[in-house]
Amino acid sequence: MSYHLFDEGVPASEIQKQKRQQVIPQTPHIDILSRFKESERRLKILRTIGTHIDHEPTEEEMKAWLQATQRK
């Protein structure tokens, strides 16, 4: 709990509500990231070792992956 808000007289229930609102929007990102990590874990088994994909994923590659997951 944020004590400075509590000291300012904000009710504890309100502080908790604000904290929940901060956490909720992050949940999809955490879910996407864990799915991406699982995807990479499996793909790494299938990939050959080479220079074409031995770097950390770029933002474009993450977007391309996300698009591929939405394809039917």
């Binding site: 995807s39 499996r42 793909l43 088994i45 698009q67 997951t69 039917k72």
Partner: protein, 275 residues
């Protein structure tokens, strides 16, 4: 193995409600959740033995692997953007790499390793009521994994149109992306390497040997001999107006399949500098 009472061997029908349940004490639900489409098409992952142990707790023993389920599961989890196909003309498995936006070749040994990792992951996440020994040992035997991969060749088979034409898919070979509209290796071979020479003849076997070298030198994926023989015949007929004959003398002096009036442009196969 623990002695069980009320033991029952089952091939369970896994419903949507079952998928809501906790997966840790039922590997069939664990795999069904991971690959729901495979479960819908081919049933549960394992033939299961269930029963109560000495203190009355329900036990789960995976008895036999469902080869069809796992072969289909190797096709990839669409929710992760994965797809694996067996490209029959080259007798090679390809997987879709979402980071590269194209299909890449992979080996059967790698697919076996992927399958093996699924089984270990399931064993790791299984609870104390599951007999995990078969997941770790019996089902990861190379013979079992190879049986799954042999079945996957049939279930995930893609024909020559998969990587060709406007609707075809892109793929990467030796670090180079090949568009689906690019000419096939055997078409390039006919165009670049064969020439009409009235006094010459070439057998299908010799043409294949040259084609194979041509592919290696130009970083192209070669077809199998059988596919080459069936596909190249039509291209040669269109390009040079000659069909395959059965009376062309081979190197051993025996009559075999080939073309009369056709020869190689240059004795040695060339590098095209394809990009």
């Amino acid at each position: 193995m623990t002695t069980l009472t009320k033991a029952k061997i089952r091939v369970p029908k896994i419903t949507v409600q079952d998928l809501e349940r906790d997966t840790i004490n039922d590997p069939n639900i664990w795999f069904a959740k991971m690959f729901p489409e495979s479960k819908d098409r081919f049933g549960p992952a394992f033939l299961q033995l269930t029963g109560d142990d000495m203190i009355g707790l329900p036990r789960f023993v995976p008895l036999e692997i469902n080869v069809d389920f796992f072969a289909h599961a190797l096709g990839g989890d669409r929710h992760l953007g994965h797809r694996v196909v067996y490209y029959q003309p080259e007798e090679t498995f390809y997987f879709y790499d979402p980071r590269l936006g194209c299909f890449c070749p992979t080996t059967e040994a790698k697919l076996a390793a992927l399958l093996s990792s699924y089984l270990i992951q399931c064993a790791q996440e299984s609870g104390g009521l599951v007999e995990v020994a078969p997941l770790f040992t019996k089902f990861r035997d190379i013979e079992v994994l190879n049986a799954v991969i042999r079945r996957a060749r049939a279930l995930l088979e893609a024909d020559s149109s998969f990587f060709s034409g406007e609707q075809g898919n892109r793929r990467m070979i030796d670090g180079k992306i090949i568009e689906s509209t690019a000419k096939a290796s055997y078409e390039l071979f006919v165009e670049k390497e064969l020439v009409k020479i009235d006094s010459s003849a070439i057998t299908v076997t010799d043409a294949f040997h040259h084609y194979f070298t041509f592919c290696r030198l130009n970083a192209l994926a070669p077809l199998s001999r059988q596919e080459f023989a069936s596909l190249v015949a039509e291209v040669v007929r269109v390009a040079f107006g000659c069909g395959v004959r059965r009376d062309v003398r081979g190197r051993n002096g025996k009559q075999t399949a080939g073309w009369v009036g056709l020869g190689l442009r240059v004795p040695e196969t060339s590098v095209l500098g394809l990009s």
